[in-house]
Structure formats: structure tokens, C-alpha cells
């Protein structure tokens, strides 16, 4: 609290010139005039009691993102289940099975349905419970709430009510949307981090009404009374309209007075506020769209297959009922078949009987529709999700968070992703800046390489090795230009924000540099040109800096390390402890702060005007290089060339750059200017801002360039490598960020989405255009830009040319409108990388929708903040970065990972596996049910289409649920075409998913055809073998039970052999489950046969007594199982030998141990197994090598 009070003395608002000047009071003190609908909210401050009953009862602060509650669970979950056509069909069939129409006994229809539905609902319940627990975690967060008499008590968030006065402490989240009353600062401002709302990391200043300033301690709320009338809850984050009635006065309220839920209080020790919107009324919750239930492409396609099967079902039912009708009408009546009591079968009325038979047939052939498919898939997905959660390679040790599949029904979609839409801050970057390099007076300092350079260097070294081995003669010459590898001893006591390493500047050595005076100026700018506040760390006694942006923090840390420790700030001065090599003790110097021209995204620069101890007035300026270079004086350009070159290199290395400049001011010149500036500042005209800007602009001219800094926006670990791999896997990556364009471009460079030589297409609208032109004009302008760019892309001849599209949020609003969006999308698809900056959360979602719907491909959105929620929910797959504070993104996501780099493994390994597993599993499911179901149909033709089934009811009941389910589940859970390492080494393998090679109609119908073939073989071989002769040596002939059991055994053997052929990865589990399935069938037969005959009927002792001693039974099994699978085996052998797919070849290379014996070949194959890519550092290396070759070629041609 000590430093808190120290700071409270400081009126921060006077530090800023534009951002938070309190405009003179009189100007806009009119209360907002609003009435009628939309503005009905009435909040009685400090009197929550009023809000407990109607009409002022508003929703509580309890939030719930669960799908069901205790009461709604049953109806809602049941409804969800029966939305699946197949389940509805089975429900109907189960209902009909209670009538005599049914060919089966009721239990054999109802039991599987109950089992299947029960399992699915259990899964839903468990998932819902997890959601509930997560909600409760948020709901149980504590906040200080005023309970009367000036006493504040900690209460859980869910107990906070509208009208409550709450006190929020530093680094806590606001529990609801609050009206900001006062803060620990005298002038009632506070800093808010809205990363969870819009992803912006710089702090926002909020400011209370002046009238509430005196309410600055707990006791003053004893009898605070006021009312707020304002707009109704709405999702608009950036507007607020309301009036505040206090002391019989009405004051207008605006956005600066509103603290939004889920934003965080920063740099301010506490604030007081009144709850206006709570719980689901709060703006952030209003923004949250209801989490849509997503279904994967495969599942959608599966529905179509189910419809195909339904058609088949209806078709064969019609055939059999027509057959039945004809058979009954044409046939001379069988005297032994009189009509039954209910007249359902009546030989005298063949057509009525035929209609009734249709229903029977529809139930009978229900086995074509795999009832257990959904539940098996769900089970498999849960297990797959378990593996994803357990993967130790996706476990982040720093934060102790594993990857988490939050909804398991999208696993296979991970293997089909085409476009990744990524947030930047917190996703690609850790939002931590490291001072890495600088260029001072045309000399470069800082020997460490950025991560991007290192990654590229590694890649290059590897490629060159291959090149030189394969005997390319340019190899050695290119090698010369390869960057030095990572420097040793890199991580000795690292300082956060400072990765600089250069002996020339460190430890005061700068003093011995040739241009020490320039360096001194550079270091002073570093230490003085900022708006940060130093804070004493109570533990270590050192200083930490609270800066508006992390860049600034990095500069100050750097300055401190160079010996210019910024230590104190007062209203008018900045104190810097300078450590000069000449003297051992640091000298504390005071610089008078005369003016501060702060940073805006429009100005792209900030300056301070200071007076040093000698009375010299200086303007120190830092800003974007283009801006600074425009403002240099003729004499100040001496280092321009060198600096520009360095800046280009820095940008190429993915660093954020700023140029530093200064100007010496004559006192008279300054004072003249300052007079005008002050005048402008206090003026009450509407164009005050413009005036201030003009004056600042006037001042920031004729500068002298000092140098430039390069700050590494610290990427999350492994991001460039991951992006590279993803690019090689053929994925497109879009970056959508709320950040400024420059930052976004820098990050683009840093993660190799952009590179030197890539043609950048920037589509923007400038401010003037917006104000002066009509809407239509702007649109036309944008359309022109887009068409021009498209033309350019189309006309490009060079196959290696890559384009990058950069578009800002304002432009995007137009580009996303219906008439432009397709052109925009087409252009974007043609570009290698797309960066959208300054986009709002809503726009992120819109862009995602555009990509998803426009291209029809699978999209994945990844982000970490609440601002990404829309996009995460909109995309086919949403991935949240967990481990950081905000949970909104994770809560909305389908998968959460701790680091961006885990995305590679999630997609390339798990996605690939899951896709193939599920695809193969579904195909097999259809196969086995067709193979089984059709035998029922054929048999029916032999029973006069009467609807008799050859199998016992129990066989059929067990077929899907027990006898064939486990191997297919093991296929779905454990199958691996290649191991995870190979998946990562051959990223191109991933393309099998997006191309949907394993679940296209060709393949599906292939499997169905296989099922048809198998059913024919099983049925006809069996009926001919067991036709009418004795089937064993003691003369008995086969009855229906014998034929049925033998046939069923053949089905079991055939489908289990089939799955063994389908699998390519056998652990003991698969072996066990396949054998287990077959053995279970025998165990069941024996046990069932041992039951009393009134339960087992004709199956009584059938196996032990009748079948097992008959050699023909065993011979028929062998024959049928082989005959069923022979064509499939021939087919896959043929395919593998003469038309192999990627994974076949990799398997073979591995099988022949090429990876061990012939490492060179292995590496060559590996390098070829990448998708042609234009982004990522591999592309960068390729481009560089190409460039060098061209140069070499030119050289050699000129030489000859």
C-alpha cells in the first residue's frame, strides 16, 4: 500500500495530453435525453434491496453456460437424442415391437435402444457437470461488497446484485458491469486491461465522474444514495448511454465510466463501483453467443449415409412386402397356415397383409441401420479425447496444464482442417517484449538472433547438408551466408524483457564506442521517452515498471541494464540514476518533464520535451520508422541509410522496430510553442483535438536520427516451428488480431507468415476517406483495391511469388458486406497469408464464418481471450489457449491447449489419427451391418416373405452390442497408420484428411459393396451347404436353428477377419478383442444352450450337441470367412503394390528399416513429404536459396 499512496499523490491525468484530459465541464454537461423502450433500466445504487422484487428485479450475477439443469436434463437430452433420425427410427421400432406386427420379441428391440440412449445421455450428463463445475469456479470468485455502514465483506460473485457497491482490488476481474465511482487515484482514473474482451493488451484509462470523486474510502458509502437510468442490456462493448442522478442533479454517463465484467483492474490499487448489469445482462455475457453444438463433417456425411441406408431399407421392405402380397395371392392356400386372430396374416386378403407386412419388414431389416453406431462413435471419441488429454507431449510443465478435449465430438474434424484462424496476442505471442537488438548511429548492436532467425538457420543448415550431399555445387557457397547458430550460454539468469547481448554496450562499455555521444542520447531516449511508472518491488528492492505497453517496459528494463535506471517520477520530473563508467556510484539526474505528446495509433509516435540539468531543452521522440524518417532534418539524416538497412533486417528477423530521434530546442522557440499548446489545451472548441495534433506535428519536425530498436515480441515457445510444420502439412493460416497493423505485420514476420520478398497487399481505408466520402464511395474504393490486387495475383508469372493480404478492421466492415465478401474471399484464398488487424471480436467471428461458408472447408480458430470467443464458436473447431488467466476462450472452445505449438501435435498426430480411425470405423460399421442385415432379407425370400428371421432374437441383440462392437471400438481408439513421430516427420500425410480420402463416397460405397458381397457369400454358401442333406454322420438334417447358428457364426468370423485386415496396428488389445469377440460368441452359445429350454427354445444345447461335433460346420466357417475376405485382401494388396497411398509407402520404408539403415534416404523422403508452402521459415529458406542461386547464376554468366 505504501507505493499505492505514493502514487496517489500523482495526478496521472496531467501526464497525458490527449487520452484523458478532462474536458472543461461546462461543455457537455447535458444529461442524455432518452426515453422509451431500450432505456428502461433503473438502478438504485447502494440499495440492492430494491432489486429483489419486481419490477426492478434483474438477473442475478450467477452465470451458467451449461446446456441442461436438473429439471430440463431429461426432456432436453432425450430430445437431443431423438433428433437423430436413426434413434427416432429405433424408438418407433421399439414401440411397434410391442405389437404382434414385430418379427422380434420386444426386449430385443428395447434393450439395445435403452442401452444406447442411456450411454449417450450419461456422457451428456458428465460433460454438463464439468461445465457446471467450471461455471461455479467463476461464480465463487470473491469480491468485496458493501453491506451497509461502510463495511465491505467478501462475497462470491454470484451473490453480487444490481445496485451493490463493490470494491475491486488490483489485478482482479470486475464481477459485473460497474459504474466507476472512484479509485485510489485522486483524480478518479483507473487502468483496465480488456484483453478478455477485445484482446488488446495495452491498458485503457477509465475515469469516474467528478461528482463521485469524494467517495474514496469505505466509510463514505455509509449513506451513499443515487440512481442510474440507462440503456437495457445489450452486447455493444463500446457504447453506453445513461444518466446518473445524485444529489438531485443529473449527470450523463458514458463509456469511460463503465467497467466491464471480465476486464481486469491494473496499476490501480482499488476502485469502487456500482453494479449496473449483472450476470447474463453484462455486456460480455451478452456478447457470448449460445455455444452452438458443432458436428463434424464426417458426422454430417454419416447422416447422409444413414439416409441412403434408410432408402435401402424402405426399398427392400417394399420388395419384400410386394413379394409377400404376390406370394400369398398367387399361391394356392396352405392349409397349415390359417389366418391369425388379429387378421394380420390373412391369406384371403393378400394386399392388406402385404401392407401390414411392410411394417414388419421395416423393423426386420432395421439391422441395416447400425443402432450402436452413434454410441460406439461417442464411446470411441471419449476414449480418443482421453488420449488427447493424456498426451504428455502436449502437457505444459510450466503451467501444469494438459491439453484438453472439451467436447469430444470433433476429434476427427481435427484431421480435416484446411484453414487456421489464429488470434495473435497470447496465442502466437506471450505478450512479453524482449529488447534484442538496436542500431545506434548506424552501428548494429546485439548479437543474439531472434527465434525466427534461429529456426530458419537450423532449417537451412539441414537443407544444405542434403544439398551438398546430393552433389549440388552451389552448396558450399551458400553455406557461407548461413547465419551463425545459437549462441552458447544463452540462459544464464535471464532478465524478463531483456535478451540483449553485446559486450560493446554492456557494463558501461558504450563509453568506449567511437560515437559515445550518440549512444548516450539513445540511452537517454530509452530511459526518458515513456509514460511508465516505477514501482519498488518489496521483495527484492529492485524496480519494476508499470507501463502502458510491454514494449515500453522492455525499453526501461534495457535502459536499466545499460546503466540508466529510471527510478522516480513526479508531477514534473523524471529521475534517472545514471551509472557512468567514469564514476562508480550512480548519479541521480533529474529531467524536467515539460510536455508529453503521447502515442496514438494515428500519430504512431510519442515525444517528450524535457529540460536536463544544464537547462538544455530537448525533444525526444520515438515512433514508427516511416514516420520518423519523414520528420528528419537535413542534418539529422547521417545514419539514415545504415539505419534503414538495419531496420529491414530487423523486420525480416521478425522484430518490432521503433526509430529514435531527438531535437534540441531553443528556449524561446519552445516557450512560444508551449504558449500556443496550452491555449489549445484549454480551449473549448470542437476542433481542440485537431489543434493539439497540428501543434504536436509542428513540434515533431526537423529531428535528428539517433538509431532504432528491435524488440522481440516474444513468441510463444516453438511457434515458428509449429507454423512451419502446419504450413508443410498444407494448412492455411490467417491471423486475426485486435492489434495495430504494424504490430500485426511484425508478428507476421516473426512467425514467418510474412517474409522479405513477399508482396504485401494492404487494403485500407484512411481516415479522410471515411469522413469525407459517402458509404458507397468507400465501398467502391475498397472494391477497386481488391480487384486490382486480384488482377495482380492472377497476372503473376513467377510460381514462387507469394502474396500476403493485410487488411484492417474498418476496411473489413465493408469487405464483409454481402456484395464484397466473395471478392474479398477469393483474393484472400489466393494469398499465402492473410492478416487482419484491428478487428473486433464480432468481425473475427464474421471472418471465420466467411471462410467457413465461402470455401466450404474446415476451419479451426485458436485464441486465448474472451475476444476470441465468437470466432472460436463460429469455427468448425475452436481451440482455446489455457493456462493464462482468462477462461472465456477455453470455456467456449472445443479443445484447449496450453501453448500454440501443441496445435501441431493436436492436428498432425491426433487429428490425423482420429480422422482415419473414425472414418475407417464408420465404414466398417456400415459394412458389417449390411453384411449382416442383408442375410435377413435373403432368407426372407425363402420363407415366402413372411418376415421370419433365421437367427435367434438374442443373436441379433448381441450382434451389435457385444459380438462385433469391441474390435471396431479398438479400431477407433488404437489404430495408427504410422506412429506419431512419423506423422510429424511427414506432415504432408495430414492432407489425407482435408482431401477426405478415407471417407469419400467412392470409399463408402466400396465398403457397402463389400458388405453386399459378404452377405451374399455368407448366405448362399451356408444355405447350399446346409440345404437338405444330413449335416453330420448320424443323419440329422439341419433345422432353422442349426442353419441360423451356423450362418451367424460365419458372419461373426467374416466381419472379425475383415476388421483384422482393416487394421494395420495390432497391440495385444486388438488381438485380444478380436479373439475375445469370437470366443464370446461361443461362450454365449454354450451358456445360452445350457439355459432351460423354455428360455433358449431351439438353441437349447445346439452348439455342444449338434454343431460342434459336425466337421461340416467348421469347414463351412473356414470357407465362408476366407471367401468373404479374399477379394478385399486382393484389393488392398493390389492397391498397395500398384497404386499406393502415402502412408503405405511410409509404412514400407519403415518396414524395410530404411530409417535406420539409410538415413540419407530417409531424410530425403522426409524433406519431400511436405506440402508446397509459401509461408513458414522453410519457405523463407527456400526463397533465400533461390535468391542466392539466381545471384550465383548471374555472376557466372557475367564471368563467361
Amino acid at each position: 500500500m505504501a507505493h499505492g499512496r505514493m502514487r496517489a499523490r500523482l495526478k496521472r491525468s496531467s501526464l497525458y495530453t490527449f487520452g484523458c484530459i478532462r474536458p472543461p465541464r461546462e461543455s457537455i454537461d447535458e444529461p442524455h435525453q432518452f426515453q422509451g423502450p431500450g432505456f428502461s433500466r433503473h438502478v438504485c445504487c447502494n440499495e440492492p434491496g430494491f432489486h429483489r422484487k419486481k419490477p426492478l428485479k434483474y438477473s442475478s450475477n450467477y452465470i451458467s453456460t451449461t446446456k441442461y439443469n436438473v429439471i430440463t436434463f431429461l426432456p432436453k437430452a432425450l430430445f437431443e437424442q431423438f433428433r437423430r433420425v436413426a434413434n427416432l427410427y429405433f424408438l418407433l421400432a421399439a414401440a411397434l415391437s410391442l405389437t404382434p406386427v414385430s418379427p422380434f420379441s420386444p426386449y430385443s428391440m428395447i434393450a439395445p435402444l435403452v442401452f444406447v440412449i442411456g450411454l449417450s445421455m450419461t456422457k451428456e450428463a458428465v460433460e454438463n457437470w464439468h461445465r457446471f463445475m467450471q461455471d461455479m469456479k467463476v461464480n465463487m470468485r470473491k469480491v468485496l461488497v458493501h453491506t451497509g455502514n461502510g463495511v465491505f465483506v467478501r462475497k462470491p460473485w454470484m451473490k453480487v446484485e444490481v445496485g451493490d457497491v463493490v470494491k475491486v482490488e488490483k489485478d482482479r476481474f470486475f464481477p459485473a458491469d460497474l459504474l466507476f465511482l472512484s479509485s485510489s487515484y485522486e483524480d478518479g482514473i483507473c487502468y483496465v486491461e480488456t484483453m478478455n474482451l477485445d484482446g488488446e493488451t495495452n491498458l485503457k484509462v477509465k475515469r469516474s465522474l467528478e461528482v463521485t470523486l469524494p467517495l474514496d474510502d469505505d466509510s463514505s458509502f455509509q449513506d451513499f444514495k443515487a440512481t442510474i437510468k440507462c440503456e437495457d442490456p445489450n452486447p455493444n462493448l463500446y457504447t453506453f448511454v445513461g444518466n446518473f442522478e445524485y444529489d438531485r442533479q443529473i449527470y450523463p454517463l458514458d463509456t469511460p465510466q463503465i467497467l466491464l465484467r471480465d476486464s481486469k483492474l491494473r496499476n490501480t490499487s482499488h476502485v469502487y463501483g456500482v453494479v449496473i448489469f449483472s450476470g447474463h445482462d453484462s455486456k460480455v455475457m451478452q456478447n457470448a453467443t449460445k455455444s452452438p453444438s458443432k458436428r463434424s463433417t464426417i458426422e454430417k456425411q454419416m447422416d447422409k449415409i444413414i439416409y441412403v441406408l434408410f432408402t435401402l431399407l424402405v426399398l427392400i421392405s417394399l420388395i419384400s412386402s410386394i413379394g409377400f402380397a404376390i406370394k400369398t395371392s398367387k399361391q394356392k392356400p396352405f392349409w397349415y397356415l390359417p389366418r391369425d386372430e388379429q387378421r394380420l396374416y390373412d391369406p384371403t386378403r393378400p394386399f392388406t397383409s402385404g401392407w401390414i407386412h411392410l411394417i414388419t419388414a421395416l423393423i426386420l431389416y432395421g439391422y441395416l441401420i447400425p443402432i450402436s453406431l452413434y454410441v460406439s462413435i461417442e464411446l470411441v471419441k471419449v476414449l480418443q479425447a482421453l488420449f488427447i488429454n493424456q498426451d504428455i507431449n502436449m502437457y505444459d510443465e510450466d503451467t501444469c496444464t494438459p491439453a484438453q478435449a472439451r467436447t469430444s465430438n470433433l476429434n476427427e474434424e481435427l484431421g480435416m482442417v484446411d484453414t487456421i484462424l489464429s488470434d495473435k496476442t497470447g496465442t502466437l505471442t506471450c505478450n512479453q517484449m524482449d529488447f534484442l537488438k538496436c542500431s545506434i548511429g548506424g552501428t548494429q548492436y546485439g548479437i543474439r538472433s531472434s527465434e525466427v532467425e534461429l529456426a530458419a538457420a537450423n532449417q537451412m543448415a539441414m537443407d544444405l547438408q542434403d544439398l551438398s550431399r546430393s552433389g549440388t555445387r552451389h552448396g558450399s557457397e551458400i553455406e557461407l551466408e548461413v547465419l551463425p547458430g545459437p549462441t552458447s550460454g544463452s540462459s544464464k539468469n535471464r532478465i524478463k524483457g531483456f535478451s540483449f547481448e553485446d559486450i560493446r554496450l554492456m557494463n558501461g562499455n558504450w563509453y568506449r564506442e567511437p560515437n559515445a555521444d550518440v549512444v548516450l542520447m539513445f540511452l537517454r531516449i530509452l530511459a526518458l521517452c515513456h509514460t511508465a511508472i516505477p514501482e519498488v518491488n518489496e521483495l527484492t528492492g529492485g524496480l519494476t515498471y508499470e507501463a502502458e505497453s510491454p514494449d515500453e517496459g522492455a525499453f526501461l528494463v534495457a535502459a536499466r541494464e545499460f546503466g540508466f535506471e529510471y527510478c522516480k517520477r513526479t508531477q514534473s520530473s523524471i529521475f534517472v540514476r545514471e551509472k557512468h563508467p567514469s564514476s562508480h556510484e550512480p548519479i541521480e539526474r533529474e529531467f524536467k518533464l515539460l510536455n508529453l505528446l503521447d502515442f496514438t495509433s494515428k500519430r504512431k509516435r510519442m515525444s517528450v520535451i524535457i529540460q536536463d540539468e544544464t537547462g538544455q531543452i530537448l525533444l525526444l521522440c520515438k515512433g514508427a520508422d516511416s514516420i520518423i524518417f519523414d520528420r528528419l532534418s537535413k542534418t539529422g539524416r547521417s545514419f539514415e541509410e545504415a539505419t534503414k538497412k538495419h531496420l529491414n533486417e530487423y523486420a525480416e528477423a521478425g522484430l518490432r522496430t521503433l526509430a529514435f530521434a531527438y531535437k534540441k530546442l531553443e528556449p524561446s522557440e519552445y516557450y512560444n510553442w508551449n504558449d500556443e499548446f496550452l491555449k489549445a489545451k484549454t480551449s473549448i472548441n470542437g476542433d481542440r483535438d485537431a489543434m493539439l495534433e497540428r501543434l504536436s506535428d509542428m513540434m515533431e519536425r526537423e529531428l535528428t536520427l539517433v538509431g532504432a530498436t528491435a524488440v522481440e515480441d516474444k513468441l510463444q515457445q516453438g511457434v515458428p516451428q509449429c507454423i512451419d510444420k502446419l504450413a508443410q502439412a498444407g494448412l492455411k493460416i490467417w491471423v486475426l488480431t485486435g492489434d495495430k497493423m504494424e504490430t500485426a505485420i511484425n508478428i507476421g514476420f516473426a512467425c514467418s507468415l510474412l517474409r522479405h520478398g513477399m508482396k504485401q497487399i494492404c487494403i485500407t481505408t484512411n481516415g479522410d476517406m471515411l469522413t469525407h466520402n459517402s458509404n458507397m464511395g468507400v465501398k467502391e474504393n475498397i472494391l477497386m483495391q481488391i480487384t486490382n490486387a486480384s488482377q495482380m495475383v492472377k497476372l503473376e508469372k513467377d510460381p514462387h511469388a507469394a502474396f500476403a493480404l493485410i487488411i484492417d478492421g474498418k476496411t473489413l466492415t465493408y469487405a464483409l458486406e454481402d456484395d464484397l465478401k466473395l471478392q474479398f474471399l477469393n483474393l484472400a484464398v489466393d494469398c499465402a497469408s492473410v492478416i487482419c488487424c484491428r478487428v473486433s471480436p464480432k468481425q473475427k467471428a464474421l471472418v471465420t464464418r466467411l471462410v467457413k461458408e465461402g470455401t466450404g472447408k474446415t476451419t479451426l480458430a485458436i485464441g486465448d481471450g474472451a475476444n476470441d470467443v465468437g470466432m472460436i464458436q463460429e469455427a468448425d473447431i475452436g481451440v482455446g489457449i489455457s493456462g493464462v488467466e482468462g477462461m472465456q476462450a477455453v470455456m467456449a472452445s472445443d479443445f484447449s491447449i496450453a501453448q500454440f505449438r501443441f496445435l501441431e501435435r493436436l492436428l498432425v498426430v491426433h487429428g490425423h489419427w482420429c480422422y482415419k480411425r473414425i472414418a475407417q470405423m464408420i465404414c466398417y460399421f456400415f459394412y458389417k451391418n449390411i453384411a449382416f442385415g442383408l442375410t435377413l432379407f435373403y432368407f426372407e425370400a425363402f420363407t415366402g416373405f413372411s418376415g421370419q428371421s433365421v437367427y435367434d432374437d438374442w443373436y441379433m441383440l448381441l450382434f451389435n452390442v457385444v459380438l462385433t462392437s469391441l474390435p471396431v471400438i479398438s479400431l477407433g481408439v488404437f489404430e495408427q497408420d504410422v506412429s506419431s513421430e512419423i506423422c510429424l516427420q511427414f506432415p504432408a500425410l495430414y492432407q489425407q484428411g482435408p482431401r477426405n480420402l478415407f471417407f469419400d463416397w467412392y470409399r463408402i460405397f466400396g465398403w457397402m459393396g463389400n458388405g453386399l458381397y459378404c452377405s451374399l457369400i455368407v448366405f448362399f454358401l451356408n444355405i447350399i451347404i446346409f440345404y437338405d442333406q444330413a449335416f453330420r454322420s448320424d443323419g440329422q438334417t439341419a433345422d432353422m436353428a442349426v442353419v441360423g447358428t451356423a450362418m451367424f457364426t460365419c458372419v461373426i468370423y467374416s466381419v472379425n477377419t475383415q476388421i483384422a485386415l482393416t487394421m494395420s496396428h495390432f497391440t495385444w488389445i486388438q488381438h485380444f478383442l478380436i479373439i475375445f469377440s469370437i470366443i464370446t460368441w461361443y461362450i454365449f452359445l454354450v451358456l445360452y444352450g445350457m439355459l432351460s429350454p423354455d428360455l433358449s427354445g431351439n438353441v437349447y444345447k445346439i452348439f455342444l450337441e449338434a454343431l460342434a461335433p459336425a466337421p461340416i460346420y467348421w469347414l463351412s466357417i473356414l470357407l465362408v470367412a476366407v471367401a468373404c475376405n479374399l477379394p478385399y485382401l486382393a484389393h488392398i494388396s493390389f492397391q498397395r503394390s500398384f497404386n499406393p497411398m502415402d502412408h503405405h509407402v511410409i509404412q514400407e520404408i519403415q518396414y524395410y528399416k530404411k530409417d535406420v539403415e539409410d538415413r540419407h534416404m530417409w531424410r530425403r523422403e522426409k524433406s519431400k513429404a511436405r506440402q508446397e508452402t509459401k509461408i513458414g521459415f522453410s519457405a523463407r529458406v527456400d526463397a533465400k536459396i533461390r535468391h542466392l542461386r539466381q545471384k550465383l547464376h548471374k555472376k557466372s554468366s557475367t564471368a563467361t
Binding site: F942, A1030, T1037, I1112, D1142, E1148, D1155, E1172
Partner: protein, 349 residues
């Protein structure tokens, strides 16, 4: 800067350090990380050709043996339903079969073509008789067969459940339509003994048909179906009924009638004395008598052997085709990804 060291999904590192674990925890680790030891069979040409060849080599002999076994079975089949109708009824078979006063007795002469070794099984065969019709199959009560009169939940047996207010034992259409042609045989003048015991499954006799259940009220209605039952013999000993109640799977079926337990010599003439009682005329069914020997494979059916030989020779054929294709056009096993297609080319170096 730590680029490679910490990244678990590192780019160029082939060997990831796996934690050293022992015993159970190792197994669990392998399971959760999906690295359980596994065999990954690869269909290499040698393997494929070998498998197909082996299958052929295995199947053809089995087929030959089965075929031989089937060939060694002798059977005599004789359709009698038409010839047993006296000439005057030829155009009105229905009248013949329904007229109780006409003698149904009939003689058939069967010539033995080959020596038939005892036991020789006697079957009756019905064609176009739908014992597998759902209406028919349902119409029985297994529990009543076991428990007798005491059990009266016999609604499935309708309309053959109650007659004159009394329950029918055995109930249902299956029992009601019991086959009732009878056969006796003689060779020359000497009567051939027919063994009619042990023709049904042992389990059926012992556990499915009650030892204390006697036929009751059976075939007492105006509309008589098939055979009648001796009300003094318990159901468990009515083997004809037991065999009949095992419903056949196909509309054409044989059922065991008895055994002749002496050899029949070549060129023997067997005289069959039969009572042609059963009505197949109304629906166009046929009746046959079959004498057949059997061996380990059962009766005469060469299909199994033929199928085995067919499958075996197809797989040898496939093996040869593969061999040929492979010799002519071997695929190099080190191949190249074509970048744009992700597929392989054949002619790669």
C-alpha cells in the same frame, strides 16, 4: 535462446527422450501415450503372394477330400406323391386325399444302385412346404410341450390352442400339421427292420418334451390337420413329433424317419409300403422318400468340396497374377512424394 531444447515436438529430433519407467507404470505410460508395442504387418509382395499361394495349397486338398467324401455317399430319392394317387383320382387329387374311405396304401419299388452300408437313413422330403413361415414358426408353445396341461398361456398357438373349451396338447399349427405318411420296407419278401428310436436330438427328447406330458384333445376338431398322436405315449417318446417340431429352414426339407440297420447290396430291390395320408396336393407340394448313407461330412452334397476347390484355385490364380505383375512392373520401395498431389509416382529413382 532455447529453441530446440524445450520443444517436445521438436523439429529435427528423431529420438525423443522417453522417461525410463518400469513394470506397470511403464505399461500405463505406453498405453496413455499410445506407444504400446504393436505388430504392424505390411502387405509386402512376398507376403501377399505367399499368403494367396498358401491358401490355395491348403484349400484344394480340403476340397478334394470333401468332394470325395460327398461322392462316397449313396442316396436313393423317390417322389411318390403323384404316383400314389389312384388313376381315377388323378384329376382330382384333393378328393382323393380328403376322402377317408379311399385306401391310402401304396407301394414303391426302389432299386439300389450301389452297395449301401448301414446305417441307412430314411428321410421324407417335402417341397414347397413353408415350415419356416413366420405365421407357422410362432405357432407353438415350448413351455406347454414341457409342462403339459398345466401351462395355458398358449395364445401364440391360436387357432389350435383350445378346442371345445379344452386346451390342446401339443398346441399350435406345427404340431397340428404333423406329417403322417408312414413307411415300411421290405427286401424281397423279408421285411426290413426300421429303427425309429433315437431319430430326434437327445436334448429335445430329454429336456424339451415333457416325460409326463401326454397328448390331449389333439386333432379333435372338425378340421383335421396332419397326424394323430397316441395319447398313451408321453411327448418325450413321440419322436416323429419331436423331429417335426424342429422347423426346417427352407421350404424344401428332409426329415429323418428312421434307420435301416443292415447293408443294402447293389441291385437289391426295396419295396416301400407307405400310407399316403399327408395332404400336399392342396398347395402343390411334393413328397419324396429318401434313403441315404452318411459319413463324417453328412449326406450327399458336393457343393462344399467344389467351393473349396474354387476358392483355393482362385487364390492360386491371384497369387500368379500378382507374381506376374510384380515381375513385370516392380515398384521400387523407395519412392517420392509428388509434391502437388501428395501421391507417389511409379517411375521414381
Amino acid at each position: 535462446m532455447e529453441v530446440d531444447a524445450g520443444t517436445t515436438s521438436a523439429v529435427g529430433t528423431d529420438n525423443q527422450p522417453t522417461p525410463v519407467l518400469r513394470g506397470r507404470s511403464k505399461a500405463i505410460h505406453q498405453f496413455t501415450q499410445q506407444t504400446l508395442p504393436a505388430c504392424k504387418p505390411v502387405l509386402t509382395p512376398a507376403w501377399v503372394i505367399g499368403t494367396f499361394f498358401l491358401m490355395g495349397v491348403l484349400f484344394i486338398p480340403v476340397g478334394l477330400i470333401s468332394l470325395h467324401a460327398s461322392q462316397s455317399v449313396n442316396e436313393i430319392v423317390d417322389r411318390y406323391d403323384v404316383d400314389c394317387v389312384p388313376d381315377i383320382f388323378k384329376n382330382n387329387k384333393m378328393a382323393y386325399i380328403k376322402n377317408a374311405s379311399v385306401s391310402k396304401s401304396c407301394h414303391r419299388y426302389l432299386k439300389v444302385h450301389k452297395h449301401m452300408k448301414a446305417p441307412i437313413y430314411i428321410y421324407y422330403q417335402l417341397d414347397n412346404f413353408y415350415q419356416n413361415h413366420r405365421r407357422y414358426v410362432k405357432s407353438r408353445s415350448d413351455e406347454q410341450l414341457l409342462k403339459g396341461l398345466g401351462y395355458n398361456k398358449t395364445s401364440s398357438c391360436e387357432p389350435q390352442a383350445f378346442e371345445n373349451g379344452l386346451p390342446i396338447v401339443p398346441c399350435g399349427l406345427v404340431a397340428w400339421s404333423l406329417f403322417n405318411d408312414t413307411f415300411s420296407f421290405s427286401r424281397g419278401t423279408k421285411k426290413l427292420e426300421i429303427e425309429r428310436k433315437n431319430i430326434a436330438w437327445k436334448s429335445d427328447r430329454e429336456h424339451k418334451f415333457g416325460k409326463n406330458v401326454y397328448p390331449f384333445n389333439f386333432q379333435n376338431s372338425s378340421f383335421i390337420g396332419g397326424g394323430k398322436l397316441d395319447t398313451t405315449i408321453p411327448l418325450s417318446d413321440q419322436e416323429d413329433l419331436i423331429v417335426w417340431m424342429r422347423t426346417a429352414a427352407f421350404p424344401s426339407f428332409r426329415k429323418l424317419y428312421g434307420r435301416i440297420e443292415e447293408d443294402l447290396e447293389e441291385d437289391d430291390i426295396i419295396v416301400v409300403h407307405l400310407m399316403n395320408n399327408y395332404n400336399t396336393y392342396s398347395f402343390g407340394g411334393t413328397k419324396m422318400i429318401v434313403l441315404s448313407t452318411s459319413n463324417w461330412l453328412g449326406g450327399k452334397n458336393s457343393f462344399l468340396g467344389v467351393a473349396y476347390i474354387f476358392v483355393g484355385s482362385s487364390s492360386i490364380l491371384i497369387a500368379f497374377i500378382f507374381l506376374l505383375l510384380h515381375v513385370k512392373n516392380p515398384r521400387p520401395y523407395v519412392c517420392i512424394f509428388l509434391k502437388d498431389e501428395g501421391q507417389f509416382s511409379n517411375g521414381c529413382s
